[in-house]
C-alpha cells in the first residue's frame, strides 16, 4: 500500500469540500473493496476521505411507496432490518448473501454501488427495482448510473448519500455463488412492479449488470416460471472464464430466473 493522508470529515459537505483542495482524493466507506485494492497497489490515492463517521447516512426508512437506504448502511444492517424484510424481503435476502458475516459488518451499499463490480449483488437489485441513486449533487436512475465494468456516472467528488427503492408487488433474488470468491457467478433479480416486470442479471455480463427483455416480455404476460420455458439467453457478450463458459452462464440465467419467479410467487 502506498502512503496517503487520512481525513475524517463529519458531514457530507465537509467531505465534498476536501476535494476542492485535494482533487485526487478518494472516498472510503467500509473499505472492503478499497483496502484490498490499495494493498495490491491497484489504487494509490494520496488522500483518503473516510465517510464512515458521518452521522445520519446509514438510516433505513419507508417513505411513501419507497424504501430509502442510507449509503453507509452496512450489508448486515439491510439483511437484518425488519423494515427491509417487510417492504422488500428480496433485498434483505440479497444482502445476507454478500460475502461472509465479517464482510457484511463493514461493507456498505453505497460502496458496493460506487464500485459497480460486475459480480456484485446490489446492482442487480437497483436495476430491477428501478431505484434512484441520490448523491450530494443529483439523482440518478440505474440506467444512467451503471456504465460498464467498475464504471459509474459518479464524478470523482460525488458522494452517494442514499438509495431509494420503489416497493415491488413481488420480487426475488437467486444467486449462484462462485465457489471460490462467493461473489455471483450468476445472480438473477426478478421484480414485478406496478410499472411492469424486470429481470436483471449480475455476474454474467461482459459489461456488468443487464436486463433480459425476452424474459420480461414473457413474464409480463404471465408471471409464472413456465412462461419462460424454452426461452434461451444468448451467450454472446457473456463472461467466459475458468469458473464457467459463456454458454454455462447463459444456461444458468434461465435456470435462476425460473427459480426467482417461483420464489417471488411463493411469498404470501
Amino acid at each position: 500500500m502506498y502512503d496517503f493522508i487520512y481525513h475524517r470529515p463529519g458531514t457530507v459537505r465537509q467531505a465534498a469540500n476536501l476535494f476542492a483542495k485535494n482533487a485526487d482524493a478518494k472516498l472510503i466507506a467500509g473499505g472492503h473493496t478499497l483496502v484490498p485494492v490499495m494493498k495490491q497497489r491497484l489504487a494509490a490515492p494520496p488522500h483518503l476521505v473516510d465517510l464512515s463517521h458521518i452521522e445520519g447516512l446509514d438510516g433505513i426508512e419507508l417513505k411513501g411507496r419507497n424504501l430509502v437506504i442510507g449509503a453507509l448502511a452496512k450489508h448486515n444492517d439491510v439483511a437484518t432490518s425488519s423494515t427491509v424484510a417487510e417492504a422488500i424481503p428480496a433485498l434483505a435476502e440479497l444482502a445476507a448473501l454478500i460475502g461472509d458475516p465479517a464482510v457484511r459488518h463493514k461493507g456498505t451499499i453505497g460502496g458496493s454501488l460506487a464500485n459497480n463490480d460486475p459480480t456484485a449483488d446490489y446492482p442487480a437489485a437497483c436495476l430491477a427495482l428501478g431505484a434512484t441513486i441520490v448523491t450530494n449533487k443529483r439523482k440518478l436512475k440505474p440506467e444512467e448510473f451503471f456504465q460498464g465494468l467498475f464504471t459509474t456516472a459518479l464524478e470523482a467528488d460525488e458522494i452517494i448519500t442514499k438509495v431509494s427503492f420503489p416497493i415491488p408487488r413481488k420480487a426475488a433474488y437467486v444467486k449462484f455463488r462462485n465457489q471460490a470468491s462467493r461473489y455471483a457467478l450468476v445472480g438473477v433479480f426478478v421484480a414485478r412492479l406496478p410499472s411492469g416486470v424486470r429481470v436483471t442479471v449480475t455476474g454474467a455480463g461482459g459489461d456488468g449488470v443487464f436486463r433480459v427483455a425476452a424474459f420480461e416480455d414473457a413474464l409480463q404476460k404471465r408471471f409464472a416460471s413456465k412462461a419462460i420455458d424454452g426461452l434461451a439467453v444468448s451467450p454472446d457478450g457473456l463472461n467466459s472464464d475458468l469458473h464457467g463458459s459463456a454458454e454455462y452462464r447463459a444456461h444458468l440465467i434461465g435456470v435462476l430466473a425460473k427459480r426467482a419467479v417461483d420464489a417471488a410467487n411463493a411469498r404470501a
Binding site: D3, Y6, G31, H32, V35, G99
Partner: protein, 157 residues
C-alpha cells in the same frame, strides 16, 4: 503519521502510526497482541477476526485509523490471564476443535459473534453457513462445528 486511540480489551490504547497501518498490524506489532493472526492478508481466511464495537470484522481489511475512537476485542480479551477460559474457548479445547491452532482465534471470535447474533441453539447448517469467511487447513471443520454448537450452549449458562 496519525494519532489513534481506541479501547482494546477494555483498556485504552494509543499510538502514533503510519496511516497505512492495518488494524491487525496495530494490534500485533504496536500492542503485541499476537493472538490475532494474519493468514491470507486478502480478506478471505478469517484468521484475523476481532470484534469492532462488538461485531466480528476482518482486522486485515480495516485501517487502524478508521478504528480510532472505537472499541476492539481480541481473543486475548475473552478471558483474563489465569482466569478460566471463555466458554467458547473451553468448548474448542474440550471438543478438539483445533489442530495447529492457527485459525482458532478467528474461529472463536467469529463463533462468539455468531452467538451474539443468532443465540445459543445453533444447527449444523447455520454454523457451517456462518463459517463462510473462516478457513481451516487442518481439521476438516467437523470438530469446529461441534465445538461452536457446544460453546454456544455453554455461553447461555
Amino acid at each position: 503519521m496519525a494519532k489513534v486511540s481506541m479501547i482494546v480489551n477494555g483498556t485504552p490504547a494509543t499510538g502514533n502510526i503510519d496511516p497505512r497501518t492495518l488494524l491487525v498490524q496495530f494490534l500485533r506489532e504496536n500492542l503485541r497482541l499476537t493472538g490475532t493472526h494474519v493468514g491470507c492478508d486478502t480478506s478471505q481466511c478469517g484468521a484475523c477476526v476481532v470484534h469492532l464495537d462488538g461485531k466480528a470484522v476482518k482486522a486485515c481489511t480495516v485501517l487502524a485509523v478508521m478504528a480510532d475512537g472505537h472499541e476492539v476485542t481480541t481473543i486475548e480479551g475473552l478471558a483474563a490471564d489465569g482466569a478460566p477460559l471463555h466458554p467458547m474457548q473451553e468448548a474448542f479445547r474440550e471438543h478438539h476443535g483445533l489442530q495447529c491452532g492457527f485459525c482458532t482465534p478467528g474461529m472463536i471470535m467469529t463463533a462468539v459473534d455468531l452467538v451474539n447474533r443468532k443465540g445459543h441453539e445453533l444447527s449444523d447448517p447455520v454454523i457451517r453457513e456462518e463459517l463462510e469467511g473462516n478457513l481451516c487447513r487442518c481439521t476438516g471443520y467437523q470438530n469446529i462445528v461441534l465445538s461452536i454448537a457446544a460453546g454456544a450452549k455453554a455461553m447461555a449458562t
